[in-house]
């Protein structure tokens, strides 16, 4: 006696990388953000949320608007007379471009680290103590010492400079200077840290140290990083946003963007097919 059951194959497609892109609650929201310089539009209607305690990488070719976008997030563009910012940018639900916003207070909440390490021509200690001093965050010398120590530790620099806090900040190596700038940025306990190409002038070892630091810092801070290195974006970020010609082309989980991007422009850029 032979028995054979009826058989069938049901085929369905699943995305193993399936994620709801950006499930983490946003620290910052940006809606319809456009920027122009002298009537030249540099950024067009960007909608992007910045997830809290996550690293968001902004990538794209030169002139795509990623740095312009980054600079909107703490109103750095206010410093450029011809620059006009439109749209809505909120931090913790509050419009950062509202009339009553004190820009100095805003920049205390949203710190920034630049492409080229730019320590003040002061001692290592004073570089880090600068922010807490002007914002009156320490009531005593001991408190200030503690803030400086803590910030240098969090920036992964303390062990290397503990014995020479009075040495000039500019005497440090490039990578150490960049970590000093990060220590300076976090000394005032910001909520968000913006990084504009923080490793572009650093060697691979110094770069790896900054990347490790970024990974540690995201436990306390929300980080947005502009980078030309796609590998760096892939290594350090949780979310990636791809900009092209002033537009946000695609954004989502970094895992997905680098394995199965949805937009062909994103794919062309990250795989090196764009001229």
């Amino acid at each position: 006696m032979v028995e054979i059951m009826d058989t069938y194959i049901e085929i369905k497609s699943v995305n193993v990388m399936a994620t709801t892109d950006n499930p983490t609650p946003p620290k910052m929201t940006t809606k319809n953000v456009s920027v122009s310089y002298d009537n030249n539009r540099a950024l067009k209607n960007v909608h992007l949320n910045i997830a809290e305690n996550r690293v968001t990488a902004l990538i794209g070719p030169s002139g795509c608007g990623k740095t312009t976008y980054l600079r909107c997030l703490n109103r750095m563009n206010d410093l450029i007379a011809t620059c006009k910012v439109e749209g809505e940018i909120k931090l913790g639900g509050h419009d950062i471009y509202a009339r009553d916003v004190d820009v100095e207070v805003l920049r205390r909440r949203i710190g920034m680290v630049f492409q080229k390490a730019n320590p003040f021509p002061k001692s290592i200690f004073d570089n880090v103590a600068y922010g807490p001093r002007i914002h009156g965050l320490a009531n005593s010398k001991e408190e200030l010492d503690a803030i400086v120590q803590k910030s240098l530790r969090r920036a992964g620099l303390l062990d290397e400079v503990e014995n020479r806090l009075n040495a000039s900040g500019t005497s440090l190596s490039g990578g150490q200077q960049q970590r000093l700038c990060i220590a300076r940025a976090i000394a005032i306990e910001p909520e968000v840290i913006l990084m504009d190409e923080p490793c572009s002038a650093l060697d691979p070892i110094a770069t790896a140290k900054i990347e490790e630091l970024i990974n540690e810092l995201k436990e306390r801070y929300t980080i947005v990083i502009v980078t030309h290195s796609m590998q760096q974006a892939a290594r350090v970020s949780d979310y990636t946003a791809y900009f092209h010609l002033g537009e946000l082309v695609e954004q989502g989980e970094t895992n997905r963007i680098f394995t199965a991007p949805k937009n062909s422009k994103t794919e062309a850029y990250i795989t090196g097919r764009i001229g």
Binding site: M1, V2, T7, N15
Partner: protein, 235 residues
């Protein structure tokens, strides 16, 4: 999207990988074809050729692995490039297994020719071979054209292969019961049928990889297999 990379050498490397996969596929197909021909036509010389030629497929698999590893190290591939290199690695091992099955069929063929002929199965074997051959042909085309639809069609074909295998299984058992003298030869034949059925499974694995390369998604299948031989009882 522009097809070419800015770095042209990268395109050449990816192109080479694809060429090697296609060559492996064509060789595996030929090996299978010759193994079945040698079986049904009792051509021992041809069977020996199949056994000897398997090494070329093995060498190609190693070459694919070496080249793919180099591309990972030197180009840091992402997105569709990454998917196609990962797929090339997996596809090459499926093709290598297909080659092994063909070789195994030929080894058994050499043994079988020394035993009483079992020519009753020629037609069934040719039929199941034709189906599997078509699957390999189609999946290689799907691979070359990055055709997800065609890849899905290959999956569907495997059901028929499994059905024929099941009926062959039943038929062979029946013959065994009729005359126990034939059991040795029939057992070899049963393994051969199983070899062919497994080749169909490898073709479906490849189809799944092609689908992944194209779409970035894996196919989840309710693997209710048509191969019901595992539950057959003859009393």
């Amino acid at each position: 999207m522009p097809k070419e990379h800015i770095v042209q050498a990268y395109d050449a490397e990816l192109g080479n990988l694809e060429k090697m996969i296609v060559e492996m596929g064509e060789r595996a197909r030929l090996q299978l074809d010759q193994s079945i021909t040698s079986l049904v036509e009792h051509d021992v010389a041809l069977a020996r050729t199949v056994v000897a030629d398997d090494i070329f497929i093995d060498q190609l698999e190693l070459e694919v692995a070496t080249r793919a590893t180099q591309i990972f190290a030197l180009r840091q591939p992402v997105a569709d490039d990454l998917r196609s290199i990962v797929a090339a690695l997996k596809i090459s091992s499926d093709l290598e297994r297909i080659g092994d099955h063909a070789k195994n069929i030929s080894k058994r063929t050499i043994t079988l020719t020394k035993m009483p002929l079992v020519s009753e199965f020629g037609n069934s074997l040719r039929r199941i071979h034709a189906l599997v051959d078509n699957m390999i042909h189609d999946v290689l085309e799907a691979y070359r054209g990055r055709d997800a639809k065609k890849a899905l069609a290959v999956l569907a074909q495997d059901t028929e292969v499994d059905k024929i295998y099941t009926s062959l299984f039943r038929e062979i058992l029946t013959y065994m019961m009729e005359d126990p003298k034939n059991i040795t030869a029939l057992t070899h034949l049963l393994f051969i049928a199983k070899n062919i059925e497994r080749i169909g499974d490898h073709a479906t694995n490849i189809a799944e990889q092609v689908y992944y390369v194209k779409t970035g998604h894996y196919i989840e299948r309710d693997r209710e297999k048509a191969d019901q031989a595992i539950s057959i009882i003859i009393e």
